[in-house]
Symmetry: C2
Subunit: 362 residues, 2 copies
Amino acid sequence: SSSTTPIKATLFPGDGIGPEIAESVKQVPFPNPHHGFVAKVDKVCSFMVVIQVFTAADVAIDWDEHYVSTEVDPRTNSFLTWESLQSVLDNKVGLKGPMATPIGKGHRSLNLTLRKELNLYANVRPCYSLPGYKTRYDDVDLITIRENTEGEYSGLEHQVVKGVVESIKIITRKASMRVAEYAFLYAKTHGRKKVSAIHKANIMQKTDGLFLQCCDEVAEKYPEIEYEKVVIDNCCMMLVKNPALFDVLVMPNLYGDIISDLCAGLVGGLGLTPSCNIGEDGIALAEAVHGSAPDIAGKNLANPTALLLSGVMMLRHLKLNKQAEQIHSAIINTIAEGKYRTADLGGTSTTTEFTKAICDHL
Amino acid sequence: SSSTTPIKATLFPGDGIGPEIAESVKQVPFPNPHHGFVAKVDKVCSFMVVIQVFTAADVAIDWDEHYVSTEVDPRTNSFLTWESLQSVLDNKVGLKGPMATPIGKGHRSLNLTLRKELNLYANVRPCYSLPGYKTRYDDVDLITIRENTEGEYSGLEHQVVKGVVESIKIITRKASMRVAEYAFLYAKTHGRKKVSAIHKANIMQKTDGLFLQCCDEVAEKYPEIEYEKVVIDNCCMMLVKNPALFDVLVMPNLYGDIISDLCAGLVGGLGLTPSCNIGEDGIALAEAVHGSAPDIAGKNLANPTALLLSGVMMLRHLKLNKQAEQIHSAIINTIAEGKYRTADLGGTSTTTEFTKAICDHL
Ligand SMILES: CC(C)[C@H](C(=O)O)[C@@H](O)C(=O)O
Ligand SMILES: CC(C)[C@H](C(=O)O)[C@@H](O)C(=O)O
């Protein structure tokens, strides 16, 4: 059941949570020959868990590691180097940990640099209830698909006069069409029934209006998929009242940022929900969207679930469906069983113990 | 216990839900001499319930009615006339029902016209659990205070080239300072412990950055009030996970629109939550923020709770605290008792029956 040739994939370990994970993984025999990771175990790396679990599931990935630099690369005006970006373009798949966004220094957020420079136009964030992990909501099963390159994230801001600043939101037909196309295709290929386009076109008639118009156009090509338009404020109210009203949600950038976090909250938070950024030409960069959690770093407390589930999304993208399912089940079952859970889920397990439990389920 | 001289207040009955309420109120003796409402009972008006309850509580209000026009007033470029706006400026207090926003005709939303033209700079929306009305959340008690005049609601949008549109978000020091001042003053005078400023300054460093800077400045003058800054996506996740983490929330316009609806959803929806718009010079326009619900109009099913509680906010603004408390208790007790509830709350009562029950509690 193992994939015979290792697949090359880019790896961005990211910042923050990590050293304690690396430490704990040092204790574990590491049979995968396809990565040079063990040698670098002293570097901050939250990915040891992923490698450990993937190895236990016989998935051979040749990880092409790229650490976040501590110096700004003038070619990207960020802490990411051009070589790191090129690696994703070459490998076409990658997995990324949390990267801290340096605030107020005029540098672009690393997350944004990746999305924009790599033209990762759609951000897919599934949020589903984990069996055995109780929240206020049962049977949540939502997919948010977020436009990932423009909108309120244009970076265009300036002071008009003292005390008056403006920022510019850009909506283009091109970006709206491709994310709408992606959402409907996703719905169709994943057996989903409905797509809801989320907007505030009653206020932003031109920008959100253009986004909706693109969704309308695409919807016409999918008569079998139910289609509706929902104003963002109403959407948030309905989501907390009755998430079962929704299925696939597609929306401009900032609304996607907000609603995907809200949906994650319904099932327990960003520590449990995966994400994958989709680009042109089959590019996919899976990503744990939670923060780098400096407050719990160094305590062997980090919950690697979001990262692992993102890895599973990467495997599905690579059509390694069998291994993806195996790993997915092992994670779900470990959490459902309830014996080994990290502190954020009300348990007392260390990251090491939780990871071992997952491997034991494989 | 009655206020002896009637207080003059502007009344915007609004659109939609209403004729059936007016009909039902026709059956009820109407002793209040201070309004000429009965004569106009054939006009669409969702305010008959308010008048009936206020009358039962011996609150004498001389309502200065202004119906939404069916023709655009060129002076306001909206369906609101200049005289309607002037009425609020003269009376300083008013109560407003839902007004449908005509879409795509280039007219300003009536709600926005009111907020901008009257300079209603802060929108206060309390969301608290109603005793006896169960949702997934217990003991919610949140106050959202929304900047109400600028931000994403600037109305500045244009096409750059075909297929590329932009909208402009404006943040000013003036508007940010006054809403921040209002939020902290509100917290202090209402015995609240904490103010959270909600933002997305990691992306919109200049606009949301200016908003935060103003909150920082004001916070310094209130050392007794805890102060924190929370990114909007994280705020939404935390709100659905544990609303008790928050107390008073202050934020730019669009975030307020979104978060106030989310908070309303936690306690049952916009049918149950009041709101009040605050302007300079003691002006206050209380407002039911739910839609005009054309789908249930004509069925005597409308829930007047949001409107009544908004009326209570108006009475508090007028310092009629005793009557405000009486009416508030009557509403709360009627809902808690559970015998008379409208369909949206899972009951079978008509609007008439629910209203009568409230009056009986007075
Ligand atoms: C860290 C931040 C720049 C980012 C965003 O706003 O997109 C994050 O919230 C996310 O959702 O991935
Ligand atoms: C109807 C709409 C224009 C309005 C808004 O966006 O402010 C409404 O959602 C509200 O919250 O009062």
